[in-house]
């Protein structure tokens, strides 16, 4: 179900389970003659219990928007509220506090620490939150179990496949129980099978009614897993698709594909 672009730029403030709300976000990058307006007034909201995809061509402003929603970059104009906390006027240290309390990141290249094991990589996310000791170890192990890597606790990233590394990154984002999980091209570096498995994982994580998941992607294979798809072009949200027919599982997806192929 595709709605007009104009309507899609309005935030869904009326929704009670909104965990992130951005309004009229403008971001200018560069200086002087090289200044570029990467975002030209983006408004969106992320709802708990939903996996939202942000799709668009290269240079459309996807990653810039993700950086702002994750409190890594600050907008030139506009407002952002994360987990009920406005970000306006916060300094870099206060933004870091907001990130560690409410935001989890998954990166395209996983960004795991090559010198740490899978378990240690996950524990780092707890360590920056001052959560240490045996409880942190248990939580890290549980998070890895949740992503199906209980058997890889002591493995180093170099000894893991891309899919496994990305699942460690998901566990690292998940372990801090953030209200918002932001994924930057989570399937871009993975083959089809691993990409679908990671998307399946993200859609399961998004079923948690206290958490919203946003994934930036240009991979059309990821669409069946989403509750909502936002399309961005030239720094503006130009469309939103709410997938009312429901989210498919990997098995359903495979079955549907087979059916389409046979037809």
């Amino acid at each position: 179900m595709t709605m007009p672009a104009q309507a899609m730029t309005m935030p869904a403030t009326q929704t009670s389970n909104v965990v992130l709300e951005a309004r009229d976000i403008v971001k200018e990058l560069g200086h002087g003659a090289g200044k570029v307006r990467a975002l030209k007034g983006v408004s969106l909201s992320l709802n708990a219990g939903e996996l939202t995809l942000l799709m668009g061509p290269s240079g459309s402003g996807k990653t810039t928007l993700l950086s702002i929603l994750g409190c890594i970059l600050t907008p030139t104009q506009g407002s952002l509220v994360v987990a009920g906390q406005p970000t306006a006027g916060l300094n870099p240290e206060q933004l870091a506090v907001l990130r560690r309390k409410h935001v989890g990141f998954i990166f395209q290249s996983y960004n795991l620490f090559p010198t740490l094991t899978a378990e240690e990589n996950v524990r780092v996310a707890l360590d920056v939150r001052h959560q240490r000791g045996s409880e942190a170890i248990v939580r890290a192990q549980r998070a890895l179990q949740q992503v199906g890597l209980r058997h890889k606790l002591k493995s180093y990233p170099a000894n893991m496949s891309g899919g496994e590394q990305q699942r460690v990154a998901v566990a690292r984002a998940l372990v801090g129980a953030p209200a918002v999980m932001l994924a930057d091209e989570p399937t871009a570096a993975l083959d089809s099978e691993n990409g679908l498995a990671v998307m399946q994982l993200l859609s399961e994580i998004a079923r948690d009614k206290s958490r919203a998941v946003l994934a930036v992607t240009h991979d059309p294979r990821t669409v069946p897993f989403a509750n909502r798809v936002l399309r961005i072009e030239d720094g503006l949200i130009v469309g939103e698709e709410r997938r009312t027919e429901g989210v498919e599982t990997v098995h359903e997806l495979a079955r549907n594909r087979k059916r389409k192929a046979n037809a």
Partner: protein
């Protein structure tokens, strides 16, 4: 986890670790040797003043150090002795002269003459013979370090000093001169004879004060009685000797300069390798920042890495430095290592590594956390 991350970062690149440790090690050894030589020099310069049993020293005006003193009238001894508060006034003779080796050739020596029974300045660390043996005919005592230089083998050997014959009756260990000129201990009268010094001349008067006597009052009173001489406390004479040898001659400045150079070179090497290591791990630091770590957390990782390098480098450096200290123990210029110097070296190493870490921290603080999306 900061320790684990720092430890793994440090050991991840073995070649860089070796370069870092070599930098620290080089710095520590250089500083230890330079400061150890400085301490050794200090000990040698003041050893006679420390060992002499005198609270006040009466000497020729402008005397700069123990060895290079001009004669003063022998009557100064009585002037000192007649001053209230002085318990004992001990005459001392010292001067340079030639030692003719039995094997041929000659070398400069410093003859020190004092009566053994006065307990003014007796040889110490005696390893062979006895101080009382100095009363025997032609008797002298020397340090075993200088046996080869003096062309003798040990007790019983004879040599010629000035026009007189001397016989070695005892050996000491560790009494070395900063000028590398051997000390020859003998009696007051024999020293006078060896140095051809008139009977009405001596070099120093050591004044031993009575318990409770005010040293400043006594010094003033003695000074009034010996207007042609100078009266210094032990501390003043010690400081004047140190100032002369270590700073007026530039020897100490050279040693301290060498130590500073070692620190600078070490800091540059460690800073360079730490900066380079941090640069290699920049994306990881950006990831930490994106995960919400505070600046302090990242500083802690870098400083821990620097601290680990410091401790490892210190242990290796000290092992080599202590070996050098051991090997220099019986040479004319021993290198001294004290617990205080070891602690100072540790503090300097940690400080050096902490300063080196600043450049790495500066680099990390300038990173844009958004770079995590650009890989």
């Amino acid at each position: 986890m900061t320790f684990t991350q720092a430890f793994r970062n440090l050991f991840y690149d073995r070649i860089r670790l070796v370069v870092t440790l070599v930098g620290i090690l080089f710095s520590i050894v250089l500083v230890a040797v330079q400061l150890g030589l400085y301490l050794g020099a200090r000990t040698m310069i003041i050893s006679m003043i420390e060992q002499a049993d005198g609270d006040l020293w009466v000497m020729a005006y402008g005397t700069k150090n123990f060895e290079e003193a001009q004669p003063i009238p022998a009557r100064e001894k009585f002037a000192a002795l007649s001053t209230p508060g002085v318990a004992k006034a001990i005459p001392l003779i010292t001067s340079f002269t030639d030692w003719r080796k039995p094997t041929g050739g000659s070398t400069l020596v410093v003859v020190i003459g004092a009566e053994a029974e006065d307990n003014g300045l007796r040889p110490w660390n005696v390893i062979e013979g006895d101080v009382s043996g100095l009363g025997a005919r032609d008797a002298v005592m020397i340090d075993k370090t200088y046996l080869a230089e003096l062309g003798v083998n040990g007790v019983g050997d004879t040599a010629q000093v000035g026009a007189s014959r001397v016989r070695i009756t005892g050996l000491t260990e560790g009494i070395r001169s900063f000028t590398v000129t051997p000390y020859i201990f003998t009696t007051l009268s024999r020293a006078r004879s060896l140095l051809d010094m008139p009977v009405d001349k001596i070099t120093y008067v050591l004044a031993k004060l009575e318990p409770g006597a005010d040293i400043e009052v006594v010094r003033r009173q003695i000074s009034q009685k010996v207007p042609d001489s100078e009266v210094l406390t032990r501390d003043e004479f010690r400081q004047r000797s140190l100032d002369h040898w270590l700073f007026a001659t530039g020897a100490g400045v050279a040693l301290i300069g060498g130590a500073i150079l070692g620190l600078v070179v070490g800091t540059v090497i460690v800073a360079q390798t730490l900066y380079s290591s941090t640069k290699d791990h920049l994306n990881e630091f950006a990831t930490l920042r994106a995960l919400g770590s505070s600046s302090g957390y990242i500083h802690k990782v870098i400083l821990t890495q620097a601290g680990l390098a410091a401790v490892l480098g210190y242990m290796l450096g000290m092992t080599i430095a202590l070996t050098i200290v051991y090997l220099s123990e019986h040479t004319a210029l021993p290198i001294v290592m004290t617990p205080a110097l070891a602690a100072l070296l540790l503090a300097l190493t940690v400080a050096m590594c902490a300063i080196s870490a600043l450049s790495a921290i500066g680099k990390v603080m300038r990173i844009d956390p958004a770079m995590v999306f650009n890989r």
